[in-house]
């Protein structure tokens, strides 16, 4: 700020009929001085503050003639004493003085520019009460999850690619066998699969595998596009399917970057081997807690929601909160290498949270910003070098 000025609160200035740059005469019992006004929101009402030390007459080529000398306001009694004077009067003199400031942003009452620093999240503030209520208030997501939120971590160092998880899932979730012709047409129904990738050369190939299942994304692309809200998000972070609402547009599958959704192109149980599944003992094969899907509906990994519901029921019976460790998914139980970890990610002490925070943890296709909830732990190869 070049020059000194008489700082006035916007309300006082309005009462006096002055604004920034207007020259006013400030007078005390001891004397008077002419100073330009500068509006300073936060200045106490009916008070004015002026910096001393300006308006010097002999301070070299730079210091001379800058600002306004207000020492006349201070009588001899106060010159060396308290510099808070009362009973001053202000009078508009007419005329103005250009005040230059390095940060001239905007008036408080301009609706268009009002509080831009807050709207633009340049300055972030909160109240103590807010902080005590929710210490994480600064980093609120658009959708908040209070309490338990399910997540999975898969340690690719441990995974041996044995497909036990696939088998476990198939049995638990009533996954139908579709037959050779349908597999040839890419219509297998597995909710979890082991993706296998080769690299290197024929002579020295290297293999990578990765169990791939529904990632239960926070920003699930499949949910946006379903016209009938058959797939949406549960309060505990599951990307859930309402089979009976599904009309079978298959749009969700198209929009899934992981292509983990599976569609009942036929009634597989009726179609496979001429209704083989509909013979008598097969009703005993199916898990009674899991819907047997009809044709024309989409399905996918549910994070074994039937187990979550059962665990929640037990917890309610026992009068306690459901814990992340109460549930084991079928793939997790089947994994002989304990590569799959499942639990509550909002509990920072849970195993799955530790995996999520691990430096080797990553999400597949992070650039799509789908925010998946399955964390993979990068594999470290020991090449014996």
């Amino acid at each position: 700020m070049w020059d000194n000025y008489a700082a006035l609160s916007p309300i006082t200035a309005k009462q006096l009929g002055v604004t920034s740059g207007d020259l006013v005469e400030v007078s005390t019992s001891d004397g008077a001085a002419t100073v330009p006004v500068f509006l300073q929101p936060g200045q106490a009402e009916n008070s004015v503050s002026i910096a001393l030390g300006y308006g010097r007459t002999n301070a070299g080529p730079i210091g001379t003639g800058i600002g306004f000398d207000v020492t006349p306001l201070l009588g001899t009694a106060t010159l060396n004493g308290a510099r808070i004077l009362s009973g001053a009067t202000i009078k508009k003199t007419g005329g103005s003085h250009e005040i230059v400031s390095t940060q001239e942003h905007h008036a408080l009452d301009d609706e268009f520019t009002k509080e831009l620093h807050l709207k633009r999240k340049i300055v972030r503030e909160g109240t103590l009460a807010e902080y005590e209520k929710n210490p994480n208030f600064l980093h609120e997501e658009k959708v908040t999850y209070s309490g338990l939120k399910w997540a999975m971590a898969i340690d690719l160092n441990k995974c041996i690619g044995c497909n036990a998880c696939v088998a476990g899932c198939n049995v638990e979730n009533n996954i139908p066998v579709v037959g050779k012709d349908q597999v040839a047409n890419g219509r297998e129904m597995h909710w979890i699969r082991i993706d296998r990738y080769y690299a290197g050369t024929d002579a020295a190939p290297s293999l990578s595998h990765q169990p791939m299942l529904c990632q239960h994304c926070d920003n699930a692309p499949c949910e946006n596009v379903c016209p009938v809200v058959a797939t949406n998000h549960s309060p505990d972070g599951l990307n859930q399917m309402a089979y009976n609402r599904c009309v079978g547009t298959k749009y969700c599958s198209n929009n899934c970057p992981y292509k983990v959704r599976r569609f009942n192109f036929f009634d597989w149980r009726d179609r496979f081997a001429d209704g083989y599944y509909e013979e008598q003992p097969f009703d005993l094969v199916h898990n009674p807690e899991v819907t047997v899907r009809s044709r024309g509906v989409m399905e996918k990994c549910t994070f074994c929601i039937q187990r979550i519901m059962e665990a929640r029921q037990h917890a309610t019976e026992q009068g306690r909160e459901l814990k992340g460790t109460d549930v084991k998914t079928a793939c997790q139980e089947a994994c002989p290498a304990t590569a799959i970890v499942f639990g509550d990610m909002s509990d920072p002490k849970s195993e799955v949270s530790k995996y999520r925070a691990h430096t080797l943890g990553y999400h597949v296709l992070e650039e799509t910003n789908a925010k998946p909830n399955v964390t993979y732990i990068a594999r470290l190869k020991n090449l014996g070098e």
Partner: protein
């Protein structure tokens, strides 16, 4: 009174005709027993329609898996045909509404026909997107927001719900627009016919129109308002159809160029279809003096323009894919041009961009065999455009582990036949039972039709 000035252009018919001659020329196909050629054509199209309906019935019984789509290519012929037919419809509204607002008098001779084609094409599209596409078509009602005891509504965020609203609005407004235009002509037919049954039908359909100027006054204003509504509507419909792709996350779909590119493509293919069908109809019903070479040439010019816009979009897609620096985008576009579906891509490019350039030459633009062939090729190309967009993107998206391949089954061609069968059957019924050229509109723009003062 609207400020339409009908008296500015040169005459639109090739020779002087009286209003009565117009009436009889246009009403002739309705009055006499259909010709043998009509019956042959109708036999072919209705057979195709029956075959398509049989396919749909069998699919309803057995399951939608009879079609070739799979995981990951979960859309294929169904949505390709849907987008194709919605696109065909766009020419009709463009001719009847946008050219009306632009005071293009030549539109009057072909507007009725083009509007009818809009309605039939959108009907075909609606059929594809319900019975040939949904896994459980009997629950298609779930796509509409209706109050129910579960308090379940539709997802207003989903582009498919936008589609439901857009296509239904488009169909309804096109029908209203078309019917409003038909009312005076139906009244003319009512007063011409001697057959009691026809008279009853025309009387009911014309609602009792009396050619009163007190009615014409409101009628013309309403027509202008409807044209004003239909213009943004037609642009919105293919924009929303393109959102089905543009709003998704898939590389090759997720692009902002889609709305203008789809609208241009829709007009392009629509004009090709209108041109093709009109060439046949003017020959069949001897209407060469009303649907003149001038009309055909103008349509060819529109095709040249929109075809070049589509070509520009193809080039720009490639450029943006490279310029984006996104490896997924770059891969998808290289895969389109060089991957397993390269044949489809190059079919699309040659049909849509290369052949239509023949229309730069006036002689070729005025040659009926050449323009007919180019029109057919444009429709082939535009069908392949949608096929390429849908199938190449889905077959090779993010994870190589879930790449797949789509090959159509016989049922895919069955549903495709349904579209063409239904469309052409309806066109044939239309030219047989309703005036395919707007008599009142033509009479209004002929020489001497308006007062000279």
């Amino acid at each position: 009174m609207t400020s339409l000035d009908y008296t500015i252009d040169p005459p639109i018919t090739t020779r002087a005709v009286t209003p009565a001659e117009i009436d009889s020329a246009i009403a002739a196909p309705l009055d006499r027993f259909p010709s043998k050629r009509w019956w042959i054509a109708f036999g072919v199209t209705s057979t195709m329609l029956a075959g398509g309906l049989a396919t749909i019935a069998y699919m309803l019984y057995e399951g939608i898996g009879l079609l070739g789509f799979n995981q990951p290519v979960a859309w294929a012929f169904d949505i390709t045909n849907f987008v194709f037919w919605v696109g065909i419809g766009h020419a009709g509204t463009l001719i009847s509404a946008i050219l009306f607002l632009m005071r293009q008098r030549w539109r009057n001779a072909i507007a009725r026909f083009a509007e009818a084609m809009t309605i039939f094409a959108v009907l075909c599209a609606a059929i594809f997107v319900t019975v040939a596409h949904l896994g459980r078509p009997w629950l298609a009602g779930y796509l509409f927001p209706y109050p129910n005891q579960h308090a379940l509504w539709v997802n207003f965020i989903s582009p498919l719900v936008w589609d439901v609203f857009a296509v239904n609005t488009y169909l309804t407004v096109s029908l209203v627009f078309w019917y409003l235009g038909l009312i005076p002509d139906l009244a003319t037919l009512r007063d011409r016919t001697t057959n009691a049954v026809k008279k009853l039908v025309y009387s009911v359909l014309s609602l009792g129109w009396r050619f009163s100027n007190r009615h014409w006054s409101h009628y013309e204003r309403m027509y202008l308002i409807l044209a004003g509504f239909a213009t943004p509507l037609v642009l919105s419909v293919h924009t929303i159809v393109s959102f089905d792709f543009a709003v998704s996350v898939n590389p090759g779909w997720h692009t902002t160029i889609f709305p203008p590119y789809f609208v241009a493509g829709a007009v392009f293919s629509g004009f090709a279809m209108v041109q093709n069908v009109l060439i046949i109809v003017r020959k069949m019903f001897k209407l060469e003096h009303i649907i003149t070479m001038k009309h055909l040439e103008n349509m060819n010019k529109v095709m040249l323009l929109t075809g070049s816009m589509v070509g520009y979009a193809y080039a720009m897609e490639m450029f943006v894919a490279w310029y984006s620096g996104s490896q997924f985008e770059r891969f998808v576009f290289l895969n389109r041009a060089l991957g397993p579906y390269a044949w489809a891509y190059w079919t699309m490019v040659s049909c849509n961009v290369v052949f239509v350039q023949l229309f730069w030459f006036k002689r070729l633009r005025l040659s009926i065999p050449i323009m007919f062939a180019v029109g057919v090729l444009v429709n082939v190309g535009m069908w392949f455009e949608r096929y390429v967009i849908i199938v190449t993107t889905l077959s090779r998206d993010f994870l190589p582990s879930s790449w797949g391949h789509f090959s159509p089954t016989i049922f895919d061609f069955g549903i495709m036949m349904l579209g063409f069968g239904l469309f052409f059957t309806l066109v044939l019924l239309f030219v047989r039972f309703l005036p395919s050229i707007a008599m009142a509109e033509i009479k209004a723009v002929m020489d001497g039709a308006q007062a000279k003062h």
